[in-house]
Amino acid sequence: MKKNQTLTQMSVPVRASLIIMGLGQLCYKQWIKGLLYLSVFAGTLLYMITTGIKDIAGFFTLGTEETDPWLGTTGDDSVIMLLRGLLAFIVIAVFLVIHASNVRDILECDKKVRTGKALPGFARAVSIFFDRKFYIAALAIPVAGVLVFNVLPILFMILIAFTNYGGDIVPPKLVDWIGFDNFRKILSLAEIKDTFFRILGWNLIWAFTSTFLNYFGGLGLALLLNKKCVKGKSFWRAFPILAYAVPGFITLLAFKFLFSYGGPINYYITSNGGNAIGFLDIDAGVKAKLIGLVVNAWISIPTSMLLATGILSNMNTDLYEAASIDGATKWKQFTKITLPFVVFSTTPVLITNFIGNFNNFGIFYFLRGGLYMDGYFLASDTDLLINWLYNLSIDNNYYGIGAAVSLIIFILTSFFSLLVYVRSSAYKKEDTFR
């Protein structure tokens, strides 16, 4: 059969299936398959007639009639309409995928009939499908899950960035599409732009420094506790694990108290005749940033240590023996054997840590929340983009602007993650350590 047939060259069943899914299969007496395709077609048609078309129209208008809770009249809910419109597009996309499979199937059936081959029954066809395309069967449910729980919210967030949702415009008021206005505000309003770039600069320094500190802190601790000369290793390992086991926000609140004016550190300073120090107050600046790094290290180093301990247990000790015989120093052994091995195995984790630190909301929210500094638009000098995002979207209800900032964070973190990953040994030399 020619690959590119015109409509007139196609057989009747093929043409029938192109127009109505499953009809061609029914013509070839593929009853179950035909009915399944037909039911998908009928279901989608029914969905589109009853709600789909309305939902798509609503996606573009985002509502025309406001709800009045006082009068009890039900109008349009823009946010729900946006969500339903998005769902309608997803249904159409899924329908097109199934329709494509229907076309492939009818062409295959047609080819078999033309060449005089017998068409397999439904059970046989399913069995062949599972045999040849098991990956599709196995991944169908997880992919559906990812679509619903990951892709849909991300798409929803992206779309919100192009609306005026927030401020005074919250349901029952109607939301409108405003194109790139939110991005324009972030990048053009002088104050917002300055705040954005200032915070972005500090955010990058924070993410790199804290990832470096946590990673090498954990590795150092793991190496130390791996030393033969260390007595009671399990006992010492328990301490970082305890720090890890305490919920993060409890640790952060404890540190906030520790460094507050009424906390134990200032108590001892004043008891010894010194002046209380504002570790986290409005003048703290660099002090507060350093405390943030240390507190984050306290929370994160145990995880890195546990990870490094596991990886180090797989190290081939013969390599060290050979290196010693060759006269390599301990530092050389670390940089040429230990580090490449650990980094190779943990690059994806390192990227995850970097993203986690880039979006580390809790540290400065708990340690130093509730400050708006001079020169910052609704933010303080220790706020990260994620904290600013919170100030804008939750504290001040600017959901549209918040979504636009989220999108920028998403683009930045994706860029850095991909950049690091494709340049890493874990990607380039995937099978080196196998």
Binding site: T67, W70, P171, S271, L371, N396
Partner: protein, 498 residues
């Protein structure tokens, strides 16, 4: 061929059976719907009531529900605890059928909902409490929409910052030294200059090792609610009003009047405290420190009275009294009064009160709020909800609430019966010495900017002590700081929505 016909027939039969089943289903649901309708007319109305945590923990909510359910059993109305967080978001949940029918909240919170019509407007004249509640309290729940006035809440009680102190910590010679007008009330509880002088006296006579054991007036100065007198007594306001009397969030008034003088007074007062006044340290340790005598007086809200009492009782117990004796002594000695009523007009707390004339003073005005009941617009039982609110704001229940929770009721009859302090708070509201939190959504944006600047000004007192350069040394500096507050609030409300 026959087999194929049989298959087609079988398929047809399956479809017709399925259609039959669907038909059965619809007819069944129809009959269900009919029975639902019949049920609705006979079923009991269940109202979900959202109260605050204190009302729950102190047992008042249960008392209220029991009383209401007993009174309305015959009418088929039952009220139950909504079992939700006291700050549950009605705007997010209500439209989707969740949330309480009736909710008890502060006026600013309730009116934030009302602005978007999540709370129903009420005909307030229909409520039994109408004539007993002053107009100022009703106004806390008033909003104007399309030129028409609506009331969206029924007032229950007034909240304002109060001064807590211990009578057994008064100096022995207070009547000779600290009662210059001889009215049997310490001067430092009457005006801020004497409170400043008394605090200074306590600091100077502090003989503890690091001179850190004896303070006078203590409050978190970065907290707008607890230190609002430094703004509102000097002509500051939150939002102005338009000609027709509606609130205008574009007119932000933290730099209005002579608030620079107020901020200067705040800085002066900070100089007699410790650095705890810059953050929430004093808010957290005031119960303990008042009980152990480190603080002579501290600012808090009336609903924290029981916490002060508890700590003081424990303190007396530690001194060797029995539990009962300690409680009695604590009740005798713990006093909750309004903040001193006069502040120096020029903001100089160090000026001697005896050298000042009447014109040198301004009335102390504090920020306050009115808590009350609102009815969700999404309730299925509007009339029953009105019945509940009417019952809960009746004399009996408000009296019970005042007795159990120590609130200051807005009902004049209950307030009079409750005694001096409650009556005093009631009168302060009527006399305009309580600046009610504006009842609009934009009020959410005032807290962080004020907290930042007030904390920074309080910190200035300690910068000087440490030999660092002070940021606020002139009236212009204070004024500029308050202009920054206005700007930040404006930005939060408008800049991004323009």
């Amino acid at each position: 061929m026959n087999r194929e016909i049989a298959r087609v027939l079988a398929t047809g039969m399956v479809f017709s059976m399925a259609a039959g089943l669907v038909g059965c289903g619809s007819s069944e649901s129809g009959s269900e719907a009919v029975s639902e309708k019949t049920k609705e007319t006979t079923e009991q109305i269940v109202l979900h009531i959202l109260e605050n945590d204190t009302a729950k923990s102190e047992g008042y909510l249960q008392e209220l529900l029991d009383a209401f359910n007993a009174a309305y059993a015959e009418k088929g109305i039952q009220a139950v605890d909504a079992n939700m967080d006291e700050y549950t978001d009605l705007a997010a949940n209500g439209p989707y059928g969740y949330g309480p029918d009736v909710l008890y909240q502060a006026n600013d919170k309730l009116m934030t909902y009302a602005e978007d019509k999540h709370i129903l407007p009420l005909t307030i004249e229909d409520f039994a409490c109408y004539e007993y509640v002053p107009e100022e309290a009703w106004d806390a729940f008033k909003m104007t929409l399309d030129g028409k006035e609506y009331y969206c809440g029924v007032p229950v009680n007034i909240q304002e910052p109060m001064l807590f102190y211990r009578t057994d910590m008064l100096p022995e010679d207070w009547e000779e030294v600290w009662d210059k007008d001889g009215n049997q009330k310490p001067d430092f509880l009457e005006n801020w200059n004497d409170l400043y002088a008394f605090s200074q006296y306590l600091r100077e006579t502090d003989t503890s090792a690091n001179q850190d054991g004896q303070y006078g007036f203590m409050a978190s100065l970065n907290n707008l609610y607890l230190s609002s007198q430094f703004i509102f007594s000097y002509g500051g306001y939150v939002f102005g009003e338009t000609e027709d009397g509606t609130l205008n969030a574009e007119d932000i008034g933290f730099a209005a009047g002579n608030t620079a003088a107020g901020m200067s007074a705040l800085k002066q007062m900070a100089g007699l405290m410790n650095e705890g006044c810059i953050d929430d340290t004093i808010t957290l340790n005031r119960y303990e420190k008042l009980a152990d005598g480190s603080y002579f007086c501290a600012v808090s809200t009336p609903d924290t009275y029981s916490l002060f009492l508890e700590k003081l009782s424990l303190h007396y117990e530690a001194e060797g009294l029995t539990e009962e004796e300690a409680k009695t002594k604590a009740k005798e000695n713990l006093q909750m009064v309004e903040l001193p009523s006069c502040m120096p007009a020029n903001g100089d707390l160090s000026q001697k009160s005896e050298e000042m004339n009447e014109a040198d003073w301004v009335d102390t005005v504090v920020m306050g709020g009115v808590n009350g009941y609102g009815i969700s617009s999404y309730t299925k039982y509007r009339e029953a909800s009105v019945e509940f609110v009417n019952f809960a704001t009746g004399y009996e229940m408000i009296k019970t609430r005042a007795d159990m929770l120590g609130i200051a009721p807005t009902r004049s009859d209950v307030a009079k019966e409750c005694g001096d302090t409650t009556d005093m708070i009631f009168n302060s509201l009527a006399d305009g010495r309580i600046y009610l939190m504006p009842s609009i959504k934009a009020v959410d944006q005032i807290w962080v900017p004020t907290q930042t600047v007030m904390g920074d000004i309080a910190k200035d007192a300690f910068r000087e002590k440490k030999g660092e350069s002070a940021k606020y040394t002139s009236k212009e500096n204070f004024q500029a700081a308050m202009e920054t507050v206005n700007k930040n609030i404006y930005d939060a409300i408008y800049t991004l929505s323009e």
